[in-house]
Amino acid sequence: MSINNGFSTPRKQSYVAIIMIVYRVYTKVIKQFWYLLIPFFVGKKSSSDILLYSLIVLSLVLAIYSIVDFFRYRFYIEDTDLIVEKGVFSRKRIVIPFDRIQSINFKQNIIHQIFNVVGLEIDTAGTNKKEFDFHALNKKVSNDLRDYIFANRKNVQLNIAIANQKEEIKTNQIQNVIRLEINDLIKIGLTQNHFKSLFVALFSLYWIIEQLKNIGINIDKYTKVTEDNILNLSLYLLVSLSIFAIIILIIVSVIRNVLRYYNLVLNRIPHGFKLEYGLFDRNEISVMDNKMQVVKWSDNLLRRLLGLFTLHIELASSVAVKQRKSILIPGIKRKDINKITEFYFSKDTLDTIKFYSIDRYYVIRRILIVSIVYFFSLAGLYLINHLFGLKSQESEDVFIILTMLFSYFVFTSLLKYRKMKFGFNNEVIQINSGIFGNRYSLYTAYKLQGVKVTQSPVQVRKNLANLILFSGAGNETIHYIKLFDAKKIRDFLLYRIETDKREWM
């Protein structure tokens, strides 16, 4: 084992970490209690003196706490373990064997960038939260630390040992796979699912108003809309207002996308990928190949026109942190997806997948259930109408809404059925789904954790079954296939898991 760059002696983080800790503690507190600050800006100053003083005291205590926290934080390397000692009141010693570290991610917000330091997140498999965070480390130290850890992991060395020589020479250099320019990011921002941000905007507006009400500011007073007002507002104004809101929303989403994913670069490094992105918050995520469990990509109606997909590479982890531990590329062409999967699987793997449809009883049953619900609702409507005598306008409205919902469910069920496909070959099993857009999930067969075949009473009668795949990064169900086929695929997957001796993570 080589000299470990002086990591064997305990050392502190960079002093910039103090700023980061203070900043983090303060944002946490402000996020919780921000509405308490509002009285300061909205008058009533005399009554809030005590509040002001207690806030000042609280901030001082928090600042001192952060500084003590910094001076109590030490890390070092012992053999092939990374060790962190920390804690203000009680001392904690955390030992992480290198083999359990599945990725080391660099983060640089604007303060980090000014001082040329980085924040480090060290992810380990199977835990619900990150084991540790380095708030700020000198950039060179972080690079050395990461290189040292990755160079001394046992299972990686094993992989290098079994890889043939030709491959080793090829992968020993860093190779760019994907780079997103500003115009790509603008396209990505424009084609995002804006309904989601609309809901988020409306919901947060509602939440803010509720919080303001809690501290005694009544918004309704300022925005009181009487029935006369509504009548006065011309339809023209309403339409232009909503168009304006949508445009603002789209612009915000584009800007957010550009800032967030600015200069996104995906590089191939020996035995893994390295992803960098962000303007103010610069992120760097490295992921080793053996940790990969699932590759997923999806599009929506708009993105299909541009041939763009969102790509996730999911790693072994508990469900709670799936989001954080996956590599996400917000916009990628189909041919670039192939470029990435070719690093994981042999060249023609994706082209040799044979796809199958699911049984049509899946859609028949869905439509049957929706129809029953629809007809019962209509019967209920008729009954209520008969008993209480609704206005004809009202029952007509309800009828129209019910019929529209019914048609929507039938329509989407048909779309969903048409898109549901599954396919496999020796290496992978792929599941396609989606309603308006498309979703594709590619599982490495031998990395699966287990398989389950289930049957509902109806399926028992029809000799159909669901097949559930358990992976290290979540489950996936193939619905309504022949019981015979489900068992055959199950046997095949078990065979692949049990005979392949490669590391699954």
Binding site: A125, G450, T454, D491
Partner: protein
């Protein structure tokens, strides 16, 4: 060196449906006892309702609730009785399979190479009957964990030992 040879899917080892092993007969009693405990709770709730609140509502509500309670209690016991026969497991050289379910059936298979750790647990009722449950944990989250209940304590320990041994053997290879 890993080689990716073509596999003929029809030549793969099949899970033979006939040779599944049933659980310990005493476990049927445990299942019925457990559903009886639930029944006692249900009946107690109904009696409480009948004593305290029934006067305020028309009689037919009490009748409906009584019938509902009866269906739940009887259904529970019948399902516990019949469901026992469906609970079976099977050990193979490389994996373990557990199947269960009377109406909603399921068959879970976990290869030993993917088991993270295993344990034998007992709840109070199982302890009376000297029964235990074997739990196998994988990295796929709660839904992919495999539980084999209704084993005699001795057998559960034996199985756990077998699984642990197989995991070690697999790792050494």
């Amino acid at each position: 060196m890993f080689e990716n040879i073509d596999i003929d899917i029809n030549s793969l080892p099949r899970v033979d449906t006939k040779s599944f092993i049933s659980l310990d007969e005493n476990y049927r009693t445990v299942l019925i006892l457990k559903s009886l405990i639930l029944s006692v709770v249900l009946i107690a709730v109904f009696i409480l309702y009948y004593q305290l609140m029934a006067e305020k509502y028309p009689l037919y509500i009490s009748v409906i609730l009584f019938v509902l309670m009866l269906i739940l209690v009887l259904g529970n016991i019948i399902f516990a009785y019949l469901g026992f026969k469906r609970k079976k497991y099977k050990l193979r050289l490389f994996d373990i399979i557990y199947k269960t379910g009377l109406l909603w059936r399921s068959e879970t298979s976990i290869p030993f190479v993917r088991v993270q750790h295993s344990e034998v647990i007992q709840d109070p009722i199982e302890r009376i009957f000297k029964l235990a449950k074997l739990k196998l944990y994988t990295a796929g989250g709660h839904s992919s964990d495999l539980n084999v209940p209704g084993l005699s304590l001795h057998k559960a320990e034996q199985l756990k030992e077998f699984v642990t041994k197989r995991i070690q053997e697999e790792e050494e290879e």
